[in-house]
C-alpha cells in the first residue's frame, strides 16, 4: 500500500504544471502505468479526491493508460509479452529476456481550463 504517497506526488506535479500554465482548474490527469508497476487505480482516484480538496485540482478525473509487460529476447531479439510462467521466447525457445516495457509510471499530460 503506497498509493497515498504516490497520489500526493501526482497532485504536486499536476498543481505545479497547472500553476505554470496559470490555469484555474485541473480537469483531467493522464497517467501511464506499466503492468508491473504496483499501483491500484481505484485507490489512487479515491485518495486523490480526498487530498485534492481545497486545491484547483479537486474533482479532476484521473485516467490510467496501462502498458502491458513487454520483453525482448536477448538471444534472437524477438519482442513479446510474457504471461504467467511463459517467459520463454516463442521464436527461439531460449529464456533470456530483458524487460523493455511495462514498468513505466509517469504523467503524460493534464487537461486544464
Amino acid at each position: 500500500m503506497h498509493e497515498l504517497s504516490i497520489t500526493q506526488e501526482i497532485l504536486n506535479i499536476a498543481l505545479d504544471k497547472a500553476k505554470e500554465a496559470e490555469a484555474n482548474r485541473v480537469l483531467q490527469i493522464n497517467l501511464v502505468i506499466g503492468e508491473i508497476s504496483s499501483v491500484v487505480d481505484d485507490c489512487v482516484q479515491y485518495y486523490f479526491d480526498f487530498i485534492s480538496k481545497d486545491t484547483i485540482a479537486h474533482g479532476a478525473k484521473l485516467n490510467f493508460r496501462r502498458i502491458p509487460l513487454q520483453v525482448k529476447c536477448r538471444i534472437c531479439g524477438h519482442e513479446f509479452s510474457p504471461s504467467g510462467e511463459h517467459w520463454k521466447c516463442p521464436v527461439c525457445q531460449q529464456w533470456d529476456a530483458e524487460i523493455i516495457g511495462g514498468n513505466e509510471f509517469y504523467m503524460e499530460s493534464i487537461e486544464v481550463e
Partner: protein, 230 residues
C-alpha cells in the same frame, strides 16, 4: 487546454535517492538495500553477516519496520551502530526516511551499511532509496514460482539469495529451475543459496559482499541505484 507533462511520478523520491547515494559515496560507505517478504530471514542474514565480517569490516545497520524496535534491539546486541525507522503503516521505506536515518548513523565510522527494508516483495521495488546495491532474499518455504509473481523485484536486484535451504528436503522447491528462471529475467543478478542456521552456502555470499566492498573502496564501482522506475 491540454498540457504535456511527461514527468516521472517518482521524480521527487528519485532525486532524494540520488542525494543519499552522493552522501554515501562521499563518506566511502557501501550501502546494501535488503528486501524480501516478511519472515524470509532478512534480520538473520544481517546478524550472521555481521558476525562473519565484524573483524574485517566496520558495519552499520538501518532497520525498517512498520512498528516496533524488535529487530534493531537484536542488532544492537552485536554492538554495531543501528538506527530504527518505523514507517507508521507504510509498506516500504522511501528515500526521505533513509535520508533522515543517514543523519543518525555515524557514517565516518563505518564502511558497510546494511539497510533492512520493510518485509514486502512489491512496494520496495518501486522506491529507490539511494544505495549502491539492492539485494533480495527468497526463502525456500515461499516457493520457486515467485519471480513470475513479482517480476519488478526480481528483475531489478543485484543479488538474489535463496534462504533457509535447510528446508529443501521438506519442500518441492526446485533450485535449478529457480536459478534458470532468475537468470532468464535478470542477467546481472548473482544468485546465492544458503542457510543461516547450518551455515551452508553462507561463505559464498559473504565473500561476494567483501569483493563488492573491495571494488567499491578501490574506487572502481560506485555505480549507484540502477533500478529503473521510469
Amino acid at each position: 487546454m491540454k498540457i504535456t507533462v511527461l514527468q516521472n511520478i517518482m521524480n521527487a523520491n528519485d532525486q532524494l535517492a540520488e542525494r543519499n547515494l552522493a552522501i554515501l559515496n562521499r563518506n566511502g560507505v557501501l550501502a546494501v538495500n535488503v528486501m524480501s517478504s516478511p519472515g524470509a530471514g532478512k534480520t538473520t542474514l544481517i546478524l550472521e553477516t555481521i558476525r562473519r565480517l565484524r573483524n574485517r569490516v566496520r558495519i552499520g545497520v538501518i532497520e525498517a519496520d512498520v512498528a516496533s524496535t524488535i529487530d534493531a534491539d537484536k542488532i544492537a546486541l552485536e554492538s554495531v551502530p543501528v538506527v530504527q525507522i518505523n514507517t507508521g503503516g507504510q509498506c516500504h521505506i522511501d528515500a526521505n526516511m533513509v535520508s533522515n536515518a543517514l543523519e543518525r548513523i555515524p557514517l565516518k565510522d563505518i564502511q558497510l551499511l546494511l539497510i533492512e527494508n520493510v518485509g514486502n516483495l512489491i512496494c520496495p521495488a518501486d522506491f529507490k532509496i539511494g544505495v549502491q546495491k539492492n539485494i533480495m532474499l527468497l526463502s525456500v518455504p515461499e516457493g520457486d514460482d515467485k519471480p513470475f509473481k513479482y517480476p519488478l523485484m526480481f528483475t531489478t536486484v543485484d543479488a538474489v539469495i535463496v534462504s533457509k535451504i535447510d528446508y529443501l528436503p521438506l519442500s518441492d522447491f526446485n533450485l535449478d529451475q529457480f536459478r534458470q528462471t532468475v537468470e532468464g529475467m535478470n542477467r546481472k543478478a548473482r544468485i546465492f543459496s544458503l542457510s543461516a542456521r547450518t551455515g551452508e552456502g553462507f561463505e559464498a555470499w559473504v565473500s561476494w559482499l567483501e569483493s563488492v566492498l573491495k571494488d567499491f573502496s578501490g574506487g572502481k564501482g560506485s555505480g549507484g541505484d540502477q533500478r529503473k522506475t521510469d
